[in-house]
Every structure is written in structure tokens, then in C-alpha cells.
Amino acid sequence: MKEKKLFGEYFKASRIAIKKTLRQFCIGNGLDPGNISKLERSLLPPPQSREKLEEYAGYLKIKKGSDGWYTFFDLAAAETGKIPDDIMAKEKIEDKLPILFRTLRGQKVSDENLEKLIKILRNA
């Protein structure tokens, strides 16, 4: 069975289709790359507002009325402002932690700072 595509994945694929890196895309459209990255990784739900979605679709050069346009809106509607359950279940903080993590001077990072990093990565 074909796995259902998520809004974030579709967003990212559309951005890549117009050959824009995340940074280029966000600079060009005055967007926050941290938030767009979360949206693409499905760690933020799609926006609820039709206006916002249309704005994003425009930035992604998705033509109004095209198949892509309907897919974009259908996927956003399917997620109804929630982070999909399977993403929540799959998202393991251990997978996102670094394995080579020392300061620029090669020193070990204190336990306190490692805990701080975990906290940051849970929200990244």
C-alpha cells in the first residue's frame, strides 16, 4: 500500500521542485527558516488559515486550480491543525542527538549543557 504523504513532505518536495534551498526560499519570501523547517518535517501542523496556505502555495509556485494546488490544500485539511500521530510516535529524541559533539576547541561538553541541548532539540 502506498504510504500517505504528509503536508510537510509535500511542502518540501514542492520547494525542491522549484530548486530553492530552505535558506534561499526563506530569504526570498521573508519567512523564518526554523519554522518552515519544522513545518517540512511535520513537527508543526499546517496553518489553518486559507489565506496563509494560499500565500505559501504562491511562494512554492503551485498554480491555482492545478492538481498540485488541490493536493496542497487537501493534505493541509487532512491534518486539521494537528501533528500527525505517526510522526509523534516515530519522533525519537535519541535519533536527533549528535554523536560527535565537542566544543570548537575539542573539549567535552558538560552534563548540564548536554541536558540543555536535549531541551533545545526537542523544540527544534
Binding site: 530548486k19 534551498t21 523547517s37 518535517r41 535519541e94 549528535p98 554523536i99 560527535l100 552534563d111
Partner: protein, 207 residues
Amino acid sequence: MSNENNIKAPVFSYDEICNHADHFLKQYHPCREIPIPIEEIAEFQIGLNIVPIPGLLRAFDVDGFTSSDLSNIYVDEFIYSDRPGRYRFTLAHEVGHIFLHKEIYSKANFRNIKEWKDFINSISEKDHGWLEYQAYSFGGLVLVPREHLIRLTKFYVNRVQEEDISLRENWDFAWDLIAARLAKDFEVSSDVIEKRLNKDKVMETYR
């Protein structure tokens, strides 16, 4: 999982790292045009997510790192948005870890935070130094392909001489100037260029 992971850094000579970088360019950027589009390669071809993190450098003295599942490269947000040369090098360096140190990442099967801490602390300072050296060299070699370095150095040496600056009499000044111009062409810092000019013995040919 204990501190006995037997994580050993692989041993690569500089020539071997050159070969890895060359192979990488053949695979992902065969035309070898500069500046090397490392961001596009990382995102479009390798499929990595690049995630900016505010305050990473300030809080941890770290420019960037790769997640243990090799899906994300996290980069300090300031470097990401305001330091393009350093950002590009951070990406190339992290891609170096992904390509050269895959085996180490594959051993990172920690099930909880304690195991993760044990794992990262089990890597000795010496091994960590090796791993960093290899990724650093790889980053420089990918962003500054040798044939372009030699060709453009020759071009700028001629330019300096045309400006009546004697290379021998103004050795340090002239090379600072040349490194700055090369850095612009390759979109990296002068530091990266200076290290390559020394390591690849390019400067020596003009003594």
C-alpha cells in the same frame, strides 16, 4: 550500553581523504564548477534537512552537528544567516562526517539519554581529534578542488606580480592578498584557503 563501545576513528591519510573528496565531487557535482553548491548537494541530492538553531555557537561553542540518524544537519542560526562562508564550510565538514564516519554513526543505537551520554563520552579525545581532522580536511578538499586552487593561485600570483609587488620581498603580504581573493572565488574563509595552500604545498612552488 557502557563506555566500552570500542569506537575507534578510522585512519585515513591526507591522500585517502583527497580520494574520498574527489569521489564525492564525481558523484554529486561532476562538472566541478566553483563555488561548489554544497547546500544544494546536501539538501537536493543527499536529502538532508538543514535545521538552524538559535544560540548554538554561543551556548555550546559549536558551529553545527549531524543527528545520529543522519537525517539532519543542525547549524547555528547566526552562522546560517549571516556567515555564508563559514556556513558552507560547516555543511561540507558535516557531510565529511557522514561520508567518512558512517560506520561510527551506525553503532549509535542508544535507547535512552543515558546510553547516548555514555556513547559520546566513550569517544576518546584522540579519536575525536582524528575524526574532526578528517572531516575538516574533507570539507576543505570538497569546497576547494585542487585543480582550481592551482589554476587560480597561478592567476593571482601573476596579478600580484603585474602590480609590481615582489612575491619574495613581500611574501606574507602577497599571500594574504592572494588568499583573500581565492577565498572570494571559492566562497570560503581565508583560513580554509591558507590551510590548503600550505597542506597541498602550493605556496612552496613559488619560493
